[in-house]
Amino acid sequence: MKFSIYRYNPETDSRPSMQEYELDIPAGSDMMLLEALMLLKDKDPTLTFRRACREGICGSDGMNINGKNGLACVTPVSELGKKAVIRPLPGLPVVRDLVVDMTQFYRQYEKVKPYLQNRNEPPARERLQSPEERAKLDGLYECILCACCSTSCPSFWWNPDKFVGPAGLLQAYRFLADSRDTETEQRLSDLDDAYSVFRCRGIMNCVSVCPKGLNPTKAIGHIRSMLLAKGV
């Protein structure tokens, strides 16, 4: 199978380029793309990418695979056709090859205060939730922060410093929806500007790439409804 992989080493290359690789993959193999990349790295140790868990949990091997963002470790090579074109996640500065600088992504995540805030006296053991209240967090808490969604979002490409992006907004809603959080008002006012939430144009690129099957657009819709309910 043929691979065309984005290569860039800022210390030696004046500009990025695509490098062609060949790898023998036995017919009927259920190999994942990450494994193929590791085999290619055995041959060419300079090839650089991130990975850790190799099972879709850590979120470190997000990349652009044949034009669509995804996790290499859960993408079977058998789905990629005769040739796989692999590039880094779009829109973020490249550190080297497939490794991108995620600072802007994390900065937006940090902005939504992704932790429980509760100004009431803590109970002796823990803050309880009913099963119904807990169910509201399903489809939100599973995010692994792989950045596949935000880096496929045009609104995030154009304003990565101002638009929170689908991943951050999914987490913003995760805490807005949490019955144990008391800072709903403050969280909403922090989001009510022309960019943070409202730069989402509902293109749903985020939904189509999320490897965990989450729906940031729906969460953004809920935030918008909450803002609307507060504002009228």
Binding site: W158, D192, A194, Y195, V197, R199
Partner: protein
């Protein structure tokens, strides 16, 4: 919270709401005009003037012109903040945009009121 001085409203919700509301009003106005044109058999200048002389039509048209300008303002402001990266160019564009919208409002009201 990200601040923006040249946006129409002071909050994102405000802009969003105006954009939706104006879209609905413009759609209703367009359908209304279309309906008038379709149901007036021999449409000539006198009928057209008489139509706009009704104060309700006049008021509806004025409201639509104002909301249309606000719609343009919100929409084009968003486009400019997405695609015009150099600050100078963006400022000139937004200045011209605001002026353009104000001119449309004043001029539109003047025309409609003179009927």
């Amino acid at each position: 919270m990200v601040t923006a001085v040249t946006s129409l409203g002071r909050s994102g919700l405000h802009d969003w709401f105006i954009q939706r509301l104006s879209a609905v009003v413009m759609a209703v106005f367009a359908i209304y005009i279309g309906w008038f044109v379709a149901t007036t058999p021999d449409l000539q200048y006198p009928q057209w003037v008489a139509f706009f002389q009704q104060w309700l039509v006049k008021a509806f048209a004025v409201v639509t012109v104002i909301l249309m300008s606000l719609h343009i303002w919100v929409g084009m402001w968003i486009v400019s903040t997405d695609y015009l990266k150099p600050t100078g160019i963006r400022m000139v564009f937004q200045g011209a945009l605001i002026l353009y919208c104000l001119v449309i409002i004043v001029w539109g009201i003047q025309i409609l009121w003179s009927v």
